[in-house]
């Protein structure tokens, strides 16, 4: 929480969303834990006053951080996500976001550039044509959503570790932080070991076709060792950093490592 990105200078994204939530109808996905642990039964069970849920929230946040550490410890950089034959691909592959497809970013390829920032030697921005020239590989892997559903898809693109090498990134840094064009400014941090995983990919194609708008045109980051929300779409910049900058869902309480 030390340093955060501000969409509007001086306005904390989390507080802003929190205020906005109050005016919204009961929409479970956008609920915050602060208003959360609302179960009367828990009060009966434990005899604790969980109406003042801040202490419960603090404890849960601490356990979640502990779980980050446990998952980083369990993470084996050589363990590959299972791959599947083309016949196993889920059709249609679901569109999923916190907004409707109509509200998905509609990016003009000519106007788009991938910005590179932070602990890298070459901070030049990349056009889509330049990126398309990089060597690409295909993977058919299972996308697992934090909600529990999963779907098998075919993604083609450049291994992120090859790109990080190309731009002279300091791979001893802790995170690669992605900023996206989604409304409300989607972003997500990826721990460096996961970023360097052989299957982590800058994806330009889905099912051998240019990535459609629904799946994140012009570029998504496919991380088959992470839950879906850590596979950002509509990526506009990446920053190699030692600082934990938070993320759209991570800040709302999803476990930050969320590795599979």
């Amino acid at each position: 929480m030390a340093k955060r990105s501000f969409l509007i200078p001086g306005v904390d994204k989390r507080l802003l969303i929190k205020d906005a939530i109050k005016t919204m109808p009961d929409f479970t996905r956008r609920r915050f834990i602060a208003g959360g642990a609302s179960l009367g039964a828990l009060t009966l069970l434990t005899g604790c006053d969980v109406v003042d849920s801040s202490s419960a929230d603090t404890l849960l946040a601490q356990v979640s951080k502990f779980n980050d550490a446990v998952q980083a410890f369990i993470f084996n950089p050589d363990a590959l996500a299972p791959t599947f034959p083309e016949s196993a691909i889920t059709k249609p592959f679901p569109f999923n976001a916190y907004y409707d497809l109509d509200d998905a970013p509609d990016i003009a390829a000519a106007d788009w550039k991938l910005e590179v920032r932070g602990l890298v030697d070459n901070k030049k921005s990349w056009t889509l044509d330049e990126l398309y020239k990089l060597p690409q590989v295909n993977q058919i892997t299972r996308h697992i959503c934090v909600e529990g559903w999963s779907a098998i898809g075919s993604w083609t693109g450049t291994p992120l570790r090859d790109f990080l090498k190309l731009i002279g990134a300091d791979t001893r840094a802790k995170y690669v932080w992605f900023q996206c064009a989604d409304k409300d400014g989607y972003n997500s941090p990826l721990d460096m070991r996961s970023a360097l995983h052989p299957q982590t990919q800058m994806t330009f194609k889905y099912a051998n076709e240019i990535l459609p708008r629904a799946y994140g045109f012009p570029m998504k980051i496919r991380v088959p060792t992470k839950l879906g929300f850590k596979n950002p779409k509509y990526v506009v910049s990446m920053e190699v950093t030692n600082e934990y900058k938070g993320g759209y869902w991570e800040d709302q309480g999803y476990n930050s490592f969320s590795g599979s």
Partner: protein
């Protein structure tokens, strides 16, 4: 005066038989709390993407929203796993499982089920489990192991790939996890009902005798 002293000595010399040792009672109640937290937060997670055509009522879910439910689930899992592992180890090491739960014979189960359905199944000696109890208690331990394994597989389908393979694939592990939960809920209903029907068994699980 002297006769009183004698009586006291007699009482202390023959203490009431311990039915449930302290470790069983402590682990039982920790497990009860962990299970309830896991079930209620699990229902919250289920509601985010239901496997079947129903959702659990909001009032019976924990965490307020999916993210909150996940935080509870992945916190309570430590309580469930550490306590459950300690229970399994102690149960095997002390010979309690062998002494209390074995043997389970089909004829014995059949006999006791018939007796139970005709309300002739006695609970005179709480230290000896009848065949229905043996089957249910051994079964629920197996379900407990299965729900943890399927849960770990879903949590780490890449790192614990072999666990997912045990169930076939990721979506199947999800169904296994759900049906284990359903089995535990069914057990819970019967278990609590019977404990209330035989209150001395509930007392034994609280004060030991």
């Amino acid at each position: 005066m002297s006769s009183l002293t004698v009586t006291d000595e007699q009482v202390s010399a023959t203490p009431a038989k311990v039915i449930q040792p302290a470790w069983v009672r402590v682990m039982h109640w920790i497990n009860a709390l962990a299970m309830i937290l896991m079930i209620l937060s699990g229902w919250q997670i289920y509601n985010a993407s239901p496997l079947f055509g129903f959702s659990f009522p909001r009032e019976y879910t924990l965490g307020g929203w999916l993210g909150g439910g996940l935080l509870w689930h992945f916190a309570a899992m430590w309580l469930l796993m550490v306590n459950g592992l300690a229970y399994l180890i102690t149960g095997f090491a002390t010979g309690r499982f062998r002494k209390k739960l074995l043997p389970i014979t089909p004829s014995g189960v059949l006999h006791d089920v018939r007796a139970a359905l005709t309300f002739k199944l006695g609970h005179d000696d709480l230290t000896v489990y009848n065949y229905v109890q043996r089957l249910l208690y051994a079964g629920i331990i197996a379900v407990g192991v299965l729900i943890v394994l399927s849960g770990l597989g879903m949590w780490k389908p890449v790192q614990f790939y072999y666990l997912v393979m045990l169930f076939g694939d990721y979506p199947t592990a999800r169904y296994v996890h759900f049906f284990c939960m359903a089995a535990i809920c069914a057990f819970l209903v019967i278990h609590v009902l019977l404990a209330l029907l035989v209150p001395k068994s509930l007392r034994a699980m609280i004060i030991g005798r």
